[in-house]
Subunit: 207 residues, 2 copies
Amino acid sequence: MEVFLDNLAKNIVRNIKCQRLIPIEASGRHVHLSIQHVIELFGKDYELKIKKELSQKGQYQYEEKVMLIGPKGVYKDVSILGPPRSKTQVEISKTDAIFLGVDAPLRDSGNLSKSPSIIIATDKAAIRIAEGVIIARRHIHMNEKDAIEFSVKDKQLVSVKILSQRPVIFEEVLVRVNRDYSLTMHIDYDEANACGYIDGVYGRLIV
Amino acid sequence: MEVFLDNLAKNIVRNIKCQRLIPIEASGRHVHLSIQHVIELFGKDYELKIKKELSQKGQYQYEEKVMLIGPKGVYKDVSILGPPRSKTQVEISKTDAIFLGVDAPLRDSGNLSKSPSIIIATDKAAIRIAEGVIIARRHIHMNEKDAIEFSVKDKQLVSVKILSQRPVIFEEVLVRVNRDYSLTMHIDYDEANACGYIDGVYGRLIV
């Protein structure tokens, strides 16, 4: 009876939502710079060069890199993602936070209030941002049509089972709905390494 | 109806097993050395000094450290755990594996066949082990009484929900039953960082 209920429950939980799978992408540490900070770090007339488009429409990675300097460690060659934002935001993993020596909180993108300071540097200049270092909470991008298909709403928290060799169910995954979004779940490299992420891995929305 | 089934399923899955919580411990990178390798690295008459007892009876950490040298990176001050084993085993996380440049497989402790080689060094000597570097699969230690209480058996794979601020359900967690074991779940630091591990966090066996 117990095994029966176990299996019943698993089947209910794991099949009740849409069977469509969600592509998983692991995000390495990166920065989003404000226009003012691009000018301070690269010079007034410098144009950052687009290296490649990302999975989300209108988002790209630049060829240029910056250095992140924390009280305990330094990362060279950190990616800059575009387009520029109203506020500079540095996204790192918990592993990175320990290495750099910054007490970065787990936050949704854009929520930077009272997050730690860090030094960002190029060959030409260095700035200290007053706040802006976060560990980005895992999230799923999808458009309105996807949201209907998955029976979820913008800002809803869901669970996603990663279909890997080291299976994990991530709970409290934030759904972000926008007409321009492509269906993708973003995790950081701690999460990627913990769940046996490899290129081409998928997740299933289960709750 | 859907929400009702969702909640029913969640309650069935999450409450069907024992409500007793499992203490979680995060293991950093460490080595277990064979007696032969202790002699080669520290000298014939050297006695390693016990620094502290671990949660599992008869297991301890030594004061001495070793250096791990991979093709792409080096870690100084890596812990040695005792007592010595029949074969030297190096346990690292996926993050460590990438840093060191070794393609370590996810394995249960003791299963070292065809795992990568690495150099282990002290101030006195260096050795290259032919194999023995693994990413240890997450597991739960418990004694026979615990196993009865949780309705599980030795070598069974279970799921454990981590009761943290960044909740994750780890699936395929290996149960290891032995009369000398204390109830503890061991995860590595990728898993720890991915699930928001802090000292004193607990897990619940849910499947």
